[in-house]
């Protein structure tokens, strides 16, 4: 099971992640990622793995990781 881990100590609310995997993440009113699945680190279904990977690479602060 792959999860999209958010490193909150790095996250600055840039928001590229929520654009790339909107099924998993929304942006709160301050720009920070809000998990849509109710889990801290949303589980990534196989169909979204490529987009989640894109999100990991797109975060300018490297605050995302697939674990």
């Amino acid at each position: 099971m792959t999860r999209l881990h958010i490193d909150w100590t790095r996250c600055d609310g840039h928001g590229a992640c929520a654009e790339l995997v909107p099924e998993l993440l929304a942006s709160d009113e301050w720009g920070f990622p809000l998990s849509r699945t109710g889990e801290r680190d949303p589980e990534v279904p196989v169909s979204l793995e490529e987009h989640a990977d894109h999100a990991v690479r797109s975060c300018p602060l490297m605050a995302l990781r697939l674990v």
């Binding site: 909150w8 709160d28 720009g31 920070f32 674990v67």
Partner: protein, 386 residues
């Protein structure tokens, strides 16, 4: 500082110094912690054996840290331990460090605790004493590790546990001062002795810091699973309205429920947990909304300020609670408080926002009648209509 104990429980506060320390193998230590069913006394209540096992999995020699940072303002049990019976904590730390072949053993003391007695006790046991900078979150496990490594005392990403990689990159075992004291006593007297008090599912004794509307604030040692009213008895509560169980990150138990047992199960309906044993009594002359607003404001200020939801959400939640305390006639306040509560929960590197949200939610629930009156402009404690 008063210390009191319930009958037959002068285990910690009445313990005599030990001579030679027993040398345990890692397996023996593990078995002791496991069989005794010891859980952490620092707030999280995590099974000690699991933590000990985790640091034996690494290749490098571990570091053992005694956590006496006591960042919670309402807690003073670790201060009492370190000034009255420091040998208990130091010996516990030394026994664990020796059993695990630790690279170093450090007793981390917060700025509000006088280190003299502990330093003296540590001298002959090969334990280093470090008096560190404080703050509410400075006692959090990874924040403590960061400070010991010379970095700012703020939490790290919990993905990599400190038991895997902590101080100096080594597997690090962080145990609360009281937990270490208990573990040292278990090594000395055995599992049966430890289980002689408390409950089968939550054995032993623990220390409770009692403050607020009481005649005799202080530290009480009581068996685990004691009744809340019994633990408070010797402190003599004065016109109690409710008890904040668990400190600033805790929850309220109304004075009508003082017969509640201090167990995870019995406290669950109140959203509370024993935590680090903080019991703060609210008297009838303090507005609970005002109190909660003050705590929330303090907690917002104490945020490590590195995670967005905490930085943005806690001050907003505290401000809304403050306006509610001020009886601002805004019917949207409860909803705003609730909205912020949900936005900060589960989002951040540590449990600081979650704990704050817990206390706020409990306040809004237990004192719902106060909330209604405030919205209508009344507070029977702070005055009449605005």
């Amino acid at each position: 500082m008063t210390t009191m104990t319930l009958p037959d429980t002068r285990r910690l506060l009445g313990a005599e110094p030990m001579g030679t320390l027993p040398h345990l193998s890692p397996d023996t230590l593990l078995a002791l912690a496991d069989d005794a069913g010891l859980t952490g006394r620092g707030g999280a209540g995590f099974p000690t054996a699991i933590k000990v096992r985790a640091v034996t999995q690494g290749r490098r020699a571990p570091v053992v840290v005694g956590n006496a940072m006591e960042g919670e303002p309402l807690s003073f049990k670790d201060a009492v331990l370190l000034t009255r019976v420091p040998h208990l904590v130091v010996d516990g730390l030394a026994i664990v460090a020796r059993a695990l072949g630790a690279h170093e053993a450090v007793l981390a003391i917060g700025p509000e605790i006088d280190p003299a007695a502990a330093t003296e006790a540590a001298r002959s046991r090969g334990v280093q004493v470090a008096q560190l900078e404080g703050g509410f979150v400075a006692g959090q496990e990874s924040a403590l590790v960061n400070q010991l490594d010379g970095r700012p005392a703020i939490p790290g990403d919990p993905l990599v546990r400190v038991t895997t990689r902590g101080v100096d990159g080594r597997p690090t075992l962080v145990l609360n001062a009281e937990t270490l004291a208990q573990l040292g006593l278990i090594a000395r007297h055995g599992v049966a002795w430890f289980r002689g008090a408390g409950l089968p599912e939550d054995p032993g004794t623990s220390l409770f810091s009692i403050s607020g509307s009481v005649a005799h604030p202080g530290v009480v040692e009581a068996p685990r699973g004691s009744i809340l009213g019994d633990v408070l008895a010797s402190a003599e509560p004065v016109h109690p309205v409710a008890v904040l169980v668990g400190g600033f990150h805790g929850a309220w138990v109304p004075a009508t429920a003082l017969d509640t047992r201090l167990t995870a199960h019995d406290l669950k309906p109140y959203g509370a947990a024993v935590g680090a044993g903080v019991l703060h009594v609210l008297g009838h002359d303090t507005c609970p909304i005002r109190m909660a607003a003050g705590i929330a404001g303090y907690l917002a200020d104490e945020s490590a300020a590195q995670c967005g939801p905490c930085i943005n959400g806690l001050p907003r939640m505290a401000d809304a609670l403050e306006r509610l305390a001020d009886r601002v006639p805004d019917p949207g306040l409860p909803a705003e408080i609730d909205r912020m509560r949900l936005l900060v929960t589960g989002r951040g590197a540590c449990a600081h926002p979650d704990g704050t949200a817990r206390m706020v939610a409990s306040t809004m629930r237990v004192f719902a009648d106060h909330v209604s009156r405030h919205l209508a402009g009344h507070c029977e404690i702070e005055g009449g209509r605005r």
